[in-house]
Symmetry: C2
Subunit: 341 residues, 2 copies
Amino acid sequence: MREAAGRRQAVRISDVARAAGVSKTLVSYALNDRAGVKESTRAHIVATARSMGWTPSFRARALSASRAYTVGLVLRIPAEGHYFTGLLAGLQSVLSTSQYSLLTEVVDGDEAEEDAYRRLALGGRVDGLVLTDPRHDDPRFRLVREAGLAFVSVGRPPEPTTMPVLIHDESRAIADAVAHLAALGHRRIAQVAGPQTVAAAGRRRRLYQKVLREHDLDDTSWLEADHTAAAGRAATVKLLDEEPRPTAIVYANDLMAVAGMSAIHERGLRVPADVSVIGWDDLAVAPHLNPPLSTVGRHPFEDGRAAARLLLEAIDGQEFAEPVPAADPTFVARDSVARPA
Amino acid sequence: MREAAGRRQAVRISDVARAAGVSKTLVSYALNDRAGVKESTRAHIVATARSMGWTPSFRARALSASRAYTVGLVLRIPAEGHYFTGLLAGLQSVLSTSQYSLLTEVVDGDEAEEDAYRRLALGGRVDGLVLTDPRHDDPRFRLVREAGLAFVSVGRPPEPTTMPVLIHDESRAIADAVAHLAALGHRRIAQVAGPQTVAAAGRRRRLYQKVLREHDLDDTSWLEADHTAAAGRAATVKLLDEEPRPTAIVYANDLMAVAGMSAIHERGLRVPADVSVIGWDDLAVAPHLNPPLSTVGRHPFEDGRAAARLLLEAIDGQEFAEPVPAADPTFVARDSVARPA
DNA sequence: ACCCGAGAATCCTACGTATCACTGTCGTGC
DNA sequence: GCACGACAGTGATACGTAGGATTCTCGGGT
């Protein structure tokens, strides 16, 4: 059996100091590029450290600096794997240029989520958190406030804050989508909206309704569904039973849109001839579906980069009076939308 | 401007000790359930700690124990968001019952990946790593060996190791898929395989060929593609030009299968009447496609759970002589496969 | 009256880095 | 000739927890 964990640092700063014939302090100064070290001494120390293969201990540095050099992201499962993969990549692309790392925590329900936040916030496990999809009465904001933890919220939080908030303007994408449908002659447009406890889902549903009214269209035909294929299918079946039948359905995400198209086909109806369909997310498969899915593309990678930058500033003590606008989603027209039969 | 980061521990173990009128050591013993503390004293200490809201400092604990209480996972982007989301969830479900957290690092190329591993391995940032998709001459195994870091490999590593290795037996799923096609009368089955530098992709391609030969079928019609939609489409176009044309195509992942179906339609051919299609992954959208996609389901969540358990044991010093079998993938028949016209 | 031992509690140092406060040295200007 | 400041370098301690070594306490046996 090999030696169990609890691996000590192989070569310590004191080893380097002894080898170079100077004090630990000077080694630290030399390697952190601080003033007060003669250039020749610095070169000697750096060379010694390199030859000994010394890397500063992350743990000791974190304790000494009273910093975790880590930020946290809590993901909900089952969830939009798509958006979060991109967000993750964007966060990383910024963090890895700093000293920071990203800790992910995956949860599957409200209680688990609160536990996760408590675990991360307490004990100084992280210096900051990325919060996504704020809900009404979201307990997370109270938790982080009490813990005095920095955060960045992707989406408007339920309470005012001086922490950074990243917001998207979805009105343009929604206006484009509805205009596209209206121009083709659609008069009955139904909506399968996301969970209305998620603040952004409610806002998006109301935006769609507002734009429908601006086109003098009925805005009353909408249902709530929880982003799963089953819910999307069920909602679609209900909408197809309405009288008169909608000629177009807009969905809160692509997965529900795909399940909806499947339900439409099972009814013996065609997409787009009988019912046009629009999704939200622009999954990798969307352009290759049969028919290719019209949808709204988001910018998770850019969101991640912006969120990481803001979070690092917040950790640094910066305050934010106003929400920060992020890259807006854009409508992508494909063949799942056509003139109604 | 609020106070910048570098947040100290609000209440320390010494505060609790003073308030309870005992030494720091006794507080530590009492809260870590160690012997040598009178029961009444323990109760008093626990009550005091609770009333003061004390949580041990993660940073100090990590330094003192010479442990990071963290394991790392490096993801490649663009990649199978699907499998990794599940893997992440599985890893977490085990880690969060221990003291461990998961650090993710997202990279987009070979150099970035090596950097990422170096960052994590050096300085004791993590106690162990999850390595996925081993490649031939994979530099990561050398890196972790040199760093003396524990790891679990999801897939057979290129070099022998005493660290745990999780392996899947794909032969059953592949045999089922080919048997299903053969039983329906398919004689010309082509393959769009994954990147052959990934060891598992090569093995899977050869497995398909072996099973084809067992059915006395031609095994020479295969192409390599890099898991993207564009590559899947291009490979499909080439295969459709072959003479005689294949009546079925099996793909290394669902995304390429979807793109392939799209290419088949563009040729004026039908799925499954003219060409049957089988994917790999069982994406959430697969059952709802038009037609529903036959594919092979993996078990990322269970893989994640198993990997986490093994990694924690490896960190504990356990050695592994044999690879550990994981939940095998299973073939799922859907309507994208039918009797050839 | 004295010794012994088990259990209870404390003392002190390790963990490894960073940094504050300080000492020593040398050149410069008056 | 002396005061002073800039610069180079060192010593000691904080960071907060854990735990081995040690001391203390107290009851029981001889």
